[in-house]
Symmetry: C2
Subunit: 385 residues, 2 copies
């Protein structure tokens, strides 16, 4: 081995922070995987002429948002007032993909920087009237997407008649601007190779809505869809102009299980330490519900809540708030007390929401750390972004 040069010796004197020095549990992101994930979705959308308006709920970070915008995203999608406030420092084109209901919430959203071009997705005349009154009072133009239900059965108007009624009423209230329709294909949860039937239904439902709207003189300027599991086949759904995936930046165990990413595309892991091996057949790590969430896989709760990154067959099968129980019954691997492992969570968005800081890794080095600025509900402190 070559003797280290003076320069590399100096580096040894002020060594970089290594992942092994982080206190656990901690959320760590492989920066190379993150960049590749960002590139892949940007490239897919560019190739297929889809506008990319990523949902920030996954990362809640203006730094990652800036990376998405730099790669061609036309704007951002948010769910909460805090997400809007934080992202308004990074972007001038924001969609609130959440019904804007409640006086306090409306007030906060109306107070956003006026240079922000704001669009709100909604599914009721009640929400629309309240928005119109607030927009009028603020003398502020607000765009509207009419949210339609195409099978998720969560929010969204169920019929073309309702969509027409909401769109028409939007047109009648000048501070509001009818900009299109939005849907969320969260019900398309088959592995991506098996989505043919779901996508055929989606195409049909969407055509019924857009056709009826067009006949009523209300052809939508934007048809906004999205979700990571369905994102890679959205170009097969005629009429869609915009997608709003979120999870793709980090991916997770559920996304990999659906084939919507490769296993090696999982960029975020929860770093955990083995704290007890006293009960035979298991090892206890310091990541439980308060670090991993308790989200199911498509296969159901039997599949556990997270798995070891480089041993996907070793699964967290039970949890308490601060304990994760690794089932060792089907492996000869025996971790020791003090060992650190990386766990890939089932649902990464929930994990990010449980953290204040994310650590970015280049190999074993903690190259950078960033705050989850849009986590929480309260107004962000000045300059938080």
């Amino acid at each position: 081995m070559a003797r280290p040069s003076l320069r590399s010796r100096r580096r040894i004197i002020t060594p970089p922070l290594l992942v092994s020095q982080l206190e656990t549990p901690a959320a760590v992101v492989d920066l190379d995987r993150l960049a590749a994930n960002l590139d892949r979705m940007a490239s897919y959308c560019a190739v297929h002429g889809l506008a990319l308006r990523p949902h920030v709920k996954t990362h809640k970070s203006p730094r990652i948002a800036a990376e998405q915008l730099r790669r061609g995203a036309i704007g951002l999608t948010c769910a909460t007032p805090r997400e809007l406030e934080v992202m308004s420092d990074a972007c001038d084109d924001l969609l609130l993909a959440y019904p804007l209901v409640g006086a306090a919430r409306i007030r906060r959203v109306m107070a956003l920087r006026r240079t922000v071009r704001l669009t709100v997705a909604l599914d009721s005349l009640e929400a629309l009237e309240a928005l119109a009154a607030a927009a009028d009072e603020a003398s502020r133009e607000i765009g509207v997407y009419v949210e339609i239900d195409v099978g998720m059965h969560r929010v969204g108007v169920a019929s073309a008649e309702r969509a027409i009624a909401v769109a028409r009423r939007t047109r009648a209230m000048p501070p509001l601007q009818y900009r299109g329709i939005a849907f969320y294909p969260g019900h398309v949860r088959e592995p991506i190779a098996q989505q043919d039937a779901s996508l055929a239904r989606l195409r049909g439902d969407l055509a019924a809505f857009t056709g009826a709207l067009a006949d009523a003189g209300l052809a939508p300027g934007v048809v906004s869809g999205g979700s990571t599991p369905a994102a890679w086949r959205m170009h097969e759904v005629a009429g869609v102009t915009e997608v709003r995936p979120g999870t793709y930046v980090y991916n997770d165990r559920a996304t990999a299980a659906l084939g919507a990413c490769a296993w090696d595309d999982c960029a975020l892991a929860v770093l955990a330490t083995v704290v007890s091996t006293s009960v035979p057949g298991q090892a206890v790590v310091d990541a439980g519900t308060k670090a991993l969430g308790r989200e199911p896989l498509p296969e159901g709760p039997g599949a556990g809540f997270a798995c070891v990154m480089d041993r996907p067959d070793v699964v967290v099968t039970r949890m308490s708030e601060e304990h994760g129980i690794l089932d060792l019954s089907r492996t000869s691997w025996r971790p020791r007390i003090g060992d650190t492992i990386r766990l890939v969570p089932n649902h990464v968005c929930v994990v990010v929401h449980l953290n204040d800081t994310i650590h970015g890794l280049r190999g074993e080095v903690v190259e950078t750390s960033w705050p989850v600025t849009a986590r929480g509900r309260e107004a962000a402190p000045e300059g938080a972004a």
Copy 2:
């Protein structure tokens, strides 16, 4: 009705904040219920001569901790370094009921104010040796509880021989002080009226451990148990000297389902707004996984994730990150868009961990709000407590 006096008229001019003015989702606590819950456990422990060392993981607040100490708690139980740091401003006697493993974690714990009498529960010689080395280096006396497994199968030594080995080794390392044993009866999850068989097994297992330790000249000074569901019958388990319940301050749907509290003892609710009623048979509220967690009831996932406080038959059966779906199929109640409701979560500890602020209500008035100071992982900012 009497005409309001000038004084009360003045009050009307600067009105108090009402719960209806809070932005949702928000965690709200009925202050009268909270006080009654604190009183009830303090009184139970006093009557039965049990030392109360409540676990702070539920409230993560030095304010609530102070109320527990004022009512006679002898100290506090913590799970994380941040909980220890925050609580060290409120209390001089802290138990870390979590294996102290990992260099970064040990360093943080050793840096606690030296006036704090610290005890650590552990279940391995590995953790013990590392603790002894750190205590020696810091010239700091640290108490040790040997953690034993009496049926939870999470952490804890499984045999009296192991307990003796750990206790004996503790005695051999002077900066450490063998203070007793700890167990967590989290497996006692029957309704409290049906715990007879579990408690009989617990008595037997505990007697085997304490008897063997006594025979080895290692009789435990403290036998520390706890957990809210089993707390009300701990006086029936001979030998237990200390309990560590956490959940009892707020209670929750799971605790009520076990009969370990009355329904009206549930002090914390998630205030939520109905944001959509467009899909028939359901109403969508703005509290999803990121506000409620996804914790099961003892009855299993079919029982849903939360219910309406004054309509316990109306349940959140599905969730997305920011959406909770109230199933209205078995009620004639039809909430309207904009209505606010209070949801009792299945597991309150996880909900508190999702919030930065808790609002204390006296009737409909927000009398006080307090930060969840020990939420998160990082060192608390100066003066945070």
